[in-house]
């Protein structure tokens, strides 16, 4: 019943949009068929590979399954969730993750938007240098995490020597990855280095989409450059910026490879993001039920936050 209603809905919708003169002339596959044909494969693939495992993971989260033991799953109700919500260490990991996400997004917005504004000035050679700036984002996060350990090595890596050159501090007097104070900032630094080009690119797309005549009109009204920035540039770039932030925030929240290869969550657990805890629970301790519950909690958190965010984004887009 619903299928035919939906199909009728689509057909009606299409009929409404196609002028009467055209409707009679349409040959070949009907629009309804085309719509379904185009959307269905995507939905099916996503259902199979995304939804099905999600439901399975939810089911697993209510069991005490340990995937490396032959014993079958047994129902434990909400035990896993209670364990997670009362675990202090895990709460600390969430805080570490929040710190990481907040700061890397803040820096990416500042630097990315700034770069986009500067590149938009269209100085000579700007397209070449833009491509150069894109390079870090084209690497594998795992490989990046790995080779930055060499760069950060106080004795054999160049980073400390460079900092020492500019600040006079001895290269071996501090360690980026190994100190409790610096390690959380180190992961922010490397992640920002890697992903700022992404934000820059999308902001650039936003800036280029602002038609010149709007600025010209502002000129006529004798608006100052700062005023133009506030009331024209920023609002029109905002939807693009928000989209970039959305993707980057989700990505930072579930970031695993870069940090795991850079610090292994150390020293101690000072950079142990929730995703690392999750990997250890799922694939080292094989506490499949517990790990699934943690994954569900993570998913619900991101889903809820993204929901609110996307509604705000849509509202901004409509302005």
């Amino acid at each position: 019943m619903t299928v035919t209603n939906n199909a009728r809905g689509i057909a009606d919708g299409v009929a409404l949009r196609t002028p009467a003169a055209v409707a009679g002339r349409v040959r070949g596959l009907s629009d309804r068929a085309v719509a379904w044909l185009f959307i269905l494969p995507t939905m099916l693939l996503l259902l199979a590979i995304n939804i099905f495992p999600l439901i399975w993971a939810i089911r697993l989260s209510f069991t005490g399954l340990m995937a490396n033991l032959p014993t079958p799953a047994h129902f434990v109700g909400l035990d896993n969730y209670v364990d997670i919500l009362t675990d202090e260490d895990l709460w600390a990991n969430f805080q570490i993750t929040a710190h990481f996400v907040f700061w890397t997004i803040a820096l990416q917005i500042l630097i990315g938007l700034g770069l986009a504004l500067l590149i938009n000035q269209k100085f000579r050679g700007h397209s070449f240098w833009t491509t150069v700036i894109l390079l870090p984002m084209m690497l594998s996060p795992a490989v990046v995490g790995n080779f930055w350990t060499l760069l950060f090595q106080p004795q054999i890596g160049p980073f400390n020597y460079l900092v020492g050159f500019f600040t006079g501090a001895a290269p071996s007097s501090f360690t980026m990855i190994g100190s409790v104070a610096l390690a959380p900032w180190t992961i922010v630094l490397v992640n920002t280095w890697m992903w700022t080009p992404y934000v820059m690119l999308i902001c650039l797309a936003g800036l280029r989409s602002i038609p010149d005549y709007i600025y010209e009109a502002a000129e006529v009204d004798r608006a100052s450059p700062l005023r133009q920035f506030w009331s024209i540039t920023l609002p029109m770039v905002l939807p693009f910026l928000m989209l970039a932030v959305l993707f980057q925030a989700i990505q930072a929240f579930v970031m695993f490879d870069l940090v795991n290869l850079l610090t292994s969550g150390g020293p101690g657990s000072t950079t142990e993001l929730v995703s690392i805890t999750l990997k250890r629970a799922a694939f080292e301790k094989w506490e499949t039920g517990y790990a699934s519950a943690l994954a569900v909690i993570l998913f619900v958190t991101i889903f809820g936050a993204a929901n609110i965010y996307v509604k705000a984004l849509n509202r901004v887009k409509q302005q």
Binding site: V34, F38, T42, L45, I133
Partner: protein, 317 residues
Amino acid sequence: MTAVPSPRPFSEPSPLARWLAGAVVILYAIVTILPLVWIGATAFKSQEDAVAYPPKVFFTPTLEGFVDLFTVQTRQPHDFIAKMPPPQTWYEKITRSRDMVIAGPSRVVERFLNSLIIGFGSMILATFLGTLAAYGFSRFRVPMADDLLFFILSTRMMPPIAVAVPIYIMYRWLGLYDTKIGMILLYTAVNLSLAVWLLKGFIDEIPREYEEAALVDGYTRLQAFRKVVLPQAVTGIAATAIFCLIFSWNEYAFNLLLTSSDAQTMPPFIPFIIGEGGQNWPAVAAGTTLFLLPIVIFTVALRKHLLRGITFGAVRK
């Protein structure tokens, strides 16, 4: 009214502003590239130079790292090497000079090929399906469109590690574990969310009048799509393709957990290239550099499309 010099139009920055902007951007570009330059240089260092203390900026380049990357070697005592036939090729000469003997090829070429097949395969599939779906959402009134689009986005919100266990079990059952086609399907599914969102944005920008004119002229919807919309969406498709490729090319977690040898790609392999008991930095750097090349080539080749796709929105009625 006193003569007020007309303010410089905002859309045409002063030469000074332009020069300053350029300087800052170029400075940032250079600083941000330095780590990559260091890694590229390390690829051509000898083992000792790579871990020299303090770090060496000037060094004699050698191809040791690349040889180590492509071969498996064992260290042998002098007398054993003296008894062996003299080295035939340039790479054997390099290895023998370090008292090592080549025991066979490493598996890096297989992994590189896997990366090519899986990376480009999933990019093509995701871009293709994404374009279709984006067109569908853009042009037709699909019921629950907003919800469906959000559902597509939400597939990105689950940490890969978390879905890895159910997918692992599912893939084993379906016989897709450690297969290239399994990885291609998985990466396509993950890429689709970004692809659909990006492409819908691009296709929304294309005015509907063109298609409607085509329909009036007697084209079917499919023909209108192929002949009218696609050519105008090429730049957007190119941009989306680049992002999809970057993800599939560089993905690590799923590949580590869902493959063992047949379908393993480069990212799980590179950070763990082991020399004599320890990480072989020149070989790791060589692998990183080589692995970066195809993606850089692809992006530079599509650069004009990428930048034009970004400026596309500026062309408005």
